[in-house]
Amino acid sequence: MAQPILRLEGITKRFPGVLANDKVDFELAQGEIHALLGENGAGKTTLMNVVYGLYKPDEGQIFIKGEKSEIDNPKEALARGIGMVHQHFMLVPVMTVTENLMLGHETIRGPNLGPLSTLYRRQVAKEIKALGDQYGLPIHPLALVQDLSVGEQQRVEIVKALYRGAEVLILDEPTAVLTPQEADDLFVVLRTLVANGKSIIFISHKLREVLKIADRITVMRDGHVVGERKPAKTNENELAAMMVGREVILQVTKGEAQPGQTVLQVSDLKVNNDLDHSAVDGVTFEVRSGEVLGIAGVQGNGQTELVEALTGLRPAEGGSIVLQGQQVAGATPRRITELSTAHIPEDRQQDGLVLPFPVSDNLVLNTYYKPPFSKGLILQRNAIMEAARERIQNFDIRTPNAQTHVGSLSGGNQQKVIVARELSRTVKLLIASQPTRGLDVGSIEYIHKRLIESRDAGAGVLLVSSELDEIMQLSDRIAVIYQGKIVDILEAKSTSKREVGLLMAGVAKEKAGKKSNSSE
C-alpha cells in the first residue's frame, strides 16, 4: 500500500480529570474518505483538533506523508495541507465571503506596508469564485456570511480550506446542520474532491451516512479506537454495538396509536423572536391523547419560539392555544404546568435544570411548592429526598447520590433527571423539544422508549426534533415547519423520509409530491 498521507501514532490527550484520547492510532490514505465514528465525547473532535494544531498532544506522533511533524497551531496545519471544517462554522458573520477567505493570509495590492497593506479583494473574489466552480461549490464572494443559509456557509468553509491549499480535509459532523437533500449534495461534492486527489476525514455519529459515504470506518469509544471496518463488510447493528460497547436496539418498537380526545388545539398562532421579528407565522395544529405529533424542520425555522409560546415562556402575538378546553395563550408557565403539561426543553442545561443544585432539588422543580414537598412556606427535606431516591431508581439515573450537583452528571443522565421530573406525575400533554440532542445511543434508546410509554399511557406527545430519523421513527403524524409556517401535516405511515425532507427544505408541497412520485 502506498504511503498514507496522514498517520497518527499513539496520540494521548488528557484534560483535567478526563482522558480524551488514549494511545490512538489512525491512518488516512491518499484519495479516500475515512470516517471517524463515535458517540459524543468519544474523543473524535479532540483527536482532530490535535491534528489541526488547536490542542497539543501529551504523547504520540503525527506523520504527514511519512514525515514526522510537530503541529503547534492551525497555521502550521494549514501550511502542511491540512484544513478543517468545524462543526460550528469559523466564519465572521458580518464580513463578506471574500474577507472571510482571505483572513489570515491576505493578498495585498500596492506597496507592502506590513499590517497596513491594502487588501486586494477583487483579485481574491475572482480566485475563489473560480476555485468554487472547479469543485462544484458555487459561492457568492461578495455576499455577507450572515445572509447565507447554513448549507451555503458550509460550502464557504470547504472552499476556504481548499483556498488555503488543503490536501487533507477534516469535516466535523458536517451533516448535523443540513437537511437530508443538502447532505446528499454534500456527498456529491465530497466525491468530486476525492476524485481530484483530496483526502477526507469525515467525523460523524450517524451510522447510516457513514456507511453511505465512507471508504473506511474507524470507530472510537471513550478515547480509544475500538476497531476499523469497511462499509461493505459491516452493518448498522455491528457499528452501533462497537460505538456503545453493547448490543443496542436501533428500531423503536411501538404499537398502533390509539388517538383519543384533543388535548392541545393551536390556532393561527403567531410568535416573535428575540429581535421582534416574526418567527412563528400563523400555525394551526392539534395534538390528541395517545398519539405522537412530530414537528419536523431544520433548526431555526421557528420551533424554539413555538415551544416557548406553548409552555408560557414567550408571549404569543396572536392566535389561540387551547389546552384541555382552556385558553392558555399568555398564561404563566406554572398554570400550564398545572394543567398536566410536561416539558422537556431544547436546551437542558439552560432551561431544564439548575446546574449548581443537587439532583434531588432538580427532581422537584415543578412541584416543590406543593405537599408533600412543602408545608406552607417550609420545604420538607425528607419528603424531597425520599422522592428523589425513588425517581433515581425508577428512571435509572446514574449519579453517585441524590446530593450530587446535576451539572456534574453526563448529558444522558441530566436528560434523565428532566424526564424523571416531568413524567413522575399524571401527564396529559408532553412537549419534548430535541429530547435526544447530543446524547449517546444508549440514552437515546431510553428516552425514545419513555416517550412511547407516555403515549401509550394516554398522553398527547408533541415531539419537536431536527433529527429526521427520530421524527420518522416515533411520530404518528408529522407536521413540517418551514420559515415559521406549517407546510403540511402528514400521516407517518403514508409518507416517506424523502417527502418530509423536501418539505423541510422549503420545496413547495405540489413539487415535493411530484418529485417523490417520479422517484417511485
Binding site: 464580513m95 482571505m102 488555503r164
Partner: protein, 378 residues
C-alpha cells in the same frame, strides 16, 4: 445672527470635538478588537497631567534653551506613552487575568482620579508649577485662504489636524487593510481568527495599547492646546462622552467623528450662550439642525466608503440632509423670543445632548460580537 458667527461656531465645535474624537478613536481600537474600554476617561486624565508635567519638567531641565514647541512636543509624547502604559494595564488585567472588563475599566478610572488629584495637591499646586504655553495656530498655506471654509478647517493648532488625520487613517485601515481585517475578525469571532493562525491576544494587546496612546493625546489636547496648565479632573467626563460618540457612530471612526462634532457643537453653543451672543431657542434650533445635517454627512461618508454594503437610498440621504440645512437656515434667519434660563444649565448642554442621542437616535447599534469576552481556546 450671520454667517460669520455661524462659521465661528463651527470652528469652535471642531476644536471642542477634538479631545472627544481622540477618546472615541481609543475606544474604537479597543472595542473593535473585542476589549471594552470604559477607562478612556482615566487614560485622558493621566495623559493630560503627564503632558503638562512632561513639557514643564523638560523645559526646566533644558533650562529653557530650546524653543517652547520642543517642550510641548515632548509633553505630547509623554502623554501618549503614559496613556499607552495605563492601557497596557487594562489589557493585561482583561486579557491575561480575564478580569471583568467593566471592573478593570472602573478600577483604572478611580486610579487615574486618585493619582492625578494627589499629584496636583502634593506637587503641581503646591509648588505653583506654571506651564510653558500652548501650541501655536498653523495656517495651512493656500487652503486657509478659502473664504469661510479656510477659517473653519485650516487655521487650527496641530492636534486638531492630527485628530482629523487619525480619523481618516483609522477609517481606511479598519476596512481596507490587513490589520483592519484581522482586528475586526478578532472582535467578532476570535475562534475563527485563531483557526486561521491569527494571534487573538496579541492583536488585542496591540490595539488596546495604541488606543491608550490616542486617549493620551486627547488628554494632552486639553493642556497643550487649550488651557496651558493642568487642573484637577479637567477631562470632566469627556472620556465617557467619547464612548457615547463611539456607540452613536456605530463603531466606525467617521461616524464617531460625526457624533463628536455634535457634542462639540453643543459645547460650543454653551460657550456662546454664556457669552450672550445668541438666545436659548436659537441655540436649540441650531443644535437640531446641525444634528440632522451631521447624520446625513456621516451617511454620505459611509456610502462612499462601503459602496457594496450600504443599502441606504441616496434619496433618503438627500431628504435628511436638506431638512437639516433648512433647519439651520431657519435658525439663522428667524428671530426667536427670549427665554431666560439660569446660566448653570447652559453648561449641561453637552451632557444633555449625550443623553438625548443615546436614548433617541442611536437605534440598534450593534457592537462587535465578541466585545467584553476574554478568549479561551477549546
Amino acid at each position: 445672527m450671520d454667517t460669520l458667527f455661524f462659521a465661528g461656531l463651527i470652528t469652535l465645535a471642531l476644536i471642542k470635538a477634538t479631545p472627544i474624537a481622540f477618546g472615541a478613536m481609543a475606544g474604537l481600537m479597543s472595542e473593535r478588537s473585542g476589549v471594552i474600554n470604559i477607562a478612556i476617561e482615566g487614560m485622558m486624565l493621566i495623559g493630560a497631567m503627564m503632558s503638562f508635567l512632561g513639557s514643564v519638567l523638560f523645559n526646566q531641565w533644558t533650562g529653557g534653551a530650546l524653543p517652547k514647541e520642543v517642550s510641548l512636543i515632548v509633553g505630547l509624547v509623554v502623554a501618549m506613552l503614559s496613556g499607552a502604559l495605563i492601557a497596557l494595564l487594562h489589557a493585561w488585567l482583561s486579557i491575561r487575568y480575564k478580569v471583568d472588563q467593566i471592573i478593570s475599566g472602573t478600577v483604572i478610572n478611580l486610579l487615574a482620579f486618585g493619582i492625578t488629584n494627589f499629584t496636583a495637591n502634593a506637587y503641581i499646586d503646591a509648588v505653583r508649577l506654571s506651564g510653558v504655553g500652548i501650541f501655536p495656530h498653523i495656517n495651512i498655506p493656500l487652503l486657509s485662504d478659502i473664504p469661510i471654509l479656510g477659517d473653519i478647517f485650516f487655521k487650527h493648532q496641530p492636534l486638531v489636524y492630527l485628530m482629523l488625520i487619525t480619523v481618516g487613517v483609522l477609517q481606511y485601515a479598519l476596512f481596507r487593510t490587513r490589520w483592519g481585517l484581522r482586528t475586526r475578525s478578532v472582535g467578532e469571532h476570535p475562534r475563527a481568527a485563531d483557526t486561521v493562525g491569527i494571534n487573538v491576544n496579541r492583536t488585542r494587546y496591540i490595539n488596546v495599547v495604541i488606543g491608550g496612546a490616542l486617549a493620551g493625546m486627547g488628554g494632552a489636547f486639553l493642556v497643550l492646546e487649550s488651557v496651558g496648565r493642568f487642573q484637577k479632573l479637567m477631562t470632566t467626563g469627556r472620556g465617557f462622552i467619547a464612548l457615547a460618540a463611539l456607540i452613536f457612530g456605530k463603531w466606525t471612526s467617521v461616524g464617531a467623528l460625526g457624533s463628536a462634532l455634535l457634542f462639540g457643537f453643543a459645547e460650543a453653543l454653551g460657550v456662546r450662550l454664556q457669552l450672550g451672543d445668541i438666545n436659548e431657542l436659537e441655540a436649540l434650533a441650531l443644535l437640531i439642525g446641525i444634528g440632522i445635517s451631521l447624520l446625513a454627512l456621516v451617511w454620505v461618508a459611509i456610502k462612499l466608503i462601503k459602496r457594496s454594503q450600504d443599502k441606504r437610498p441616496a434619496s433618503l440621504i438627500a431628504i435628511v440632509g436638506g431638512a437639516g440645512l433648512l433647519f439651520i437656515v431657519l435658525a439663522l434667519t428667524v428671530d426667536f423670543p427670549n427665554i431666560q434660563i439660569p446660566i448653570q444649565f447652559l453648561g449641561l448642554l453637552p451632557y444633555f445632548a449625550t443623553v438625548l442621542v443615546l436614548a433617541g437616535f442611536v437605534g440598534r447599534a450593534v457592537a462587535p460580537a465578541a466585545v467584553g469576552k476574554p478568549y479561551e481556546r477549546g
